[in-house]
């Protein structure tokens, strides 16, 4: 069964001057963890708001749990959990007061669905009397997730829950999402961190209001059109300059400890690459073919 269906959504702001969504279609299965991957300005937040009944699309249709987002907005609001991109809890209320309040908002109690938030809430418990505004970034997001989950929604919308959160807290956050998936909750989550894509069942890569591709992370990687080389040496900056100046280079991006390189012609150019770099006298030169990451794929699609 499909939990979320969007078909040919268009949305623009400022009387059409700022297009936000251009023909966006996707569907999310029940119990699926679906990622919207894309940088700021890709249109992720607009899509979330349309699906969460907060905005009306200019064109196109969307359904959540089989209900139309325009007509049946009231019914949808009973079933979804929504965590907006900005931290949206009451900063002057304590952790416990926030959770208790949102439980009441959805006509439930903390006890009723405690099993669902237990793992997360246990981490927050030592700080339960602390004001939400005084929590660290990672903790705030965990609390917000608790608040969005407390009424056991069937669909969860998480708009950039890990932005600005440190890598450790981010990892913990994704582990929680994996567990929630087991409960049969459909999750639509967006992130600007490409490395988080591999944690989703399927992802939609978005850029400037358009969907570039929708697939499982492994399929997206398999579709990478070329051989990818990881090149490293002692002087990485000089190496990058040299690689970009190389006539057979199709694209070269720095990727932390190595530069990721694609060549115009995989078969014929590999040998000349080795020769070219040796001539440039790079020390500790390493050239390997590697499996692309989602980030490589994303950049190849631009």
């Amino acid at each position: 069964m499909e939990s979320i269906v969007a078909s040919h959504l268009y949305k623009s702001f400022d009387k059409g001057r700022i297009p936000a969504l251009l023909d966006v279609s996707l569907s999310v299965e029940q119990g699926e963890l679906f990622g919207l991957i894309g940088p700021d300005g890709a249109g992720k937040t607009t899509l979330f708001r349309i699906l969460a009944t907060l905005l009306l699309a200019d064109q196109g249709e969307a359904k959540v749990d089989g209900l139309d987002v325009k007509q049946a907005y009231k019914a949808i609001r009973h079933r979804v959990g929504y965590m907006p991109g900005r931290f949206s809890l009451y900063q002057d209320l304590s952790v416990e007061e926030n959770l208790d309040f949102f439980a009441k908002v959805f006509g439930t109690t903390i006890q009723e669905n405690y099993y669902l938030v237990k793992d997360i809430y246990q981490q927050l418990e030592p700080f339960k009397t602390r004001k939400a505004g005084k929590l660290s970034g990672g903790m705030k997001q965990k609390l917000a997730l608790c608040c969005a989950l407390i009424h056991k929604p069937s669909v969860l919308f998480l708009d950039e829950p890990t932005t600005g959160v440190d890598p450790v807290s981010r990892k913990e956050f994704w582990e929680m999402l994996q567990k929630l998936k087991q409960e049969g909750i459909s999750i639509l989550v967006s992130t600007p961190y490409m490395d988080e894509a591999s944690l989703c069942d399927r992802v939609a890569l978005m850029q400037k209001g358009k969907i570039l591709d929708i697939d499982t992370p492994s399929h997206i990687i398999d579709k990478f059109p070329k051989k990818l080389w990881a090149v490293s040496a002692t002087n990485m900056y000089q190496l990058l300059m040299d690689l970009r100046a190389f006539s057979a280079t199709a694209a070269c991006y720095s990727f932390g400890e190595s530069h990721h390189l694609t060549l115009k012609n995989d078969a014929s150019d590999a040998a000349s690459l080795q020769q070219y770099l040796t001539e440039k006298k790079h020390k500790d030169l390493k050239i390997n073919t590697i499996k692309p990451t989602i980030e490589d794929c994303f950049m190849a699609m631009l």
Partner: protein
């Protein structure tokens, strides 16, 4: 890069000794000591709430430490904060440019703050706009630029007055991967010219670009070395692993 970076004591541009900041009975920054050398890209990492922001605020001269010493660009953080501010550039993710001013106006305004003359501003401003390829947008409001462009512009403005050191607080959060790399190209280029880069980030691949990286946990610096050495030291494949090993030890959530 290491090559053009001199680790002589004469080339120390930031020196911190037992730098401490307490808020009541909470020690945000707990006796941290480190040096940053001229032309270095220094990665300042840590989990949320580890005390990075507090330390950074002291170093850029907007917060007084509770104890310890620190010199930035040769000036003391206790007594010469104003001189520090003149000699550094600063760019944060939260605030960098005025969205309701045009690109040209922002350049003029921020350049003017650092005492650039009208003539200098004109030449440097035009060169900057040309370099970023923003000629067509120069008289448009910053609000109309995509985030990535804004951050690139913001960085360029932060180094417009040729500061010795530039502090970057999570400069690439939410920026698309392509622009993020262009941003780092600009950082490399500035470092190449001898500008010292002090940067915080949550992208662990970006930590790999740094000459040296410090990782803060619970207010203390738990590790400080080049990414390569850190990976050896912690038997890790990537900086991500190193970070996880260290940050997992964190006790406090604030």
């Amino acid at each position: 890069m290491m090559k053009n970076m001199d680790t002589n004591t004469a080339n120390i541009v930031i020196q911190a000794r037992n730098l401490t900041k307490r808020f009541g009975d909470f020690t945000a920054t707990d006796a941290i000591s480190f040096e940053v050398y001229k032309g270095e890209i220094f990665g300042f990492l840590g989990a949320n709430g580890a005390g990075k922001t507090t330390a950074m605020k002291i170093l850029i001269g907007i917060s007084k430490p509770s104890a310890g010493e620190a010199q930035v660009a040769g000036f003391d953080v206790y007594t010469q904060a104003e001189l520090i501010k003149k000699n550094i550039g600063y760019m944060s993710q939260k605030f960098s440019l005025y969205e309701d001013l045009t690109i040209r106006e922002n350049i003029r305004f921020f350049g003017g703050i650092y005492g650039l003359s009208r003539a200098e501003l004109k030449i440097k401003g035009d060169a900057l706009i040309k370099k970023l390829g923003l000629e067509a947008e120069a008289d448009k409001l910053v609000a109309s630029l995509p985030l990535g462009w804004r951050q690139k512009l913001s960085f360029s403005i932060a180094i417009l007055h040729n500061p010795q050191i530039v502090f970057l607080d999570e400069p690439t959060g939410g920026v698309d991967p392509l622009t993020r790399r262009q941003f780092w190209d600009m950082i490399y280029e500035a470092a190449h010219r001898g500008v010292t880069i002090f940067v915080t980030t949550h992208y662990m691949d970006e930590a790999e670009y740094c000459d040296r990286v410090s990782i803060m946990v619970d207010g203390k610096i738990e590790a400080l070395a080049s990414p390569k050495k850190l990976k050896e030291q912690f038997h890790a494949q990537s900086m991500d692993e190193v970070f996880h090993q260290l940050a997992r030890k964190a006790k406090r959530a604030e």
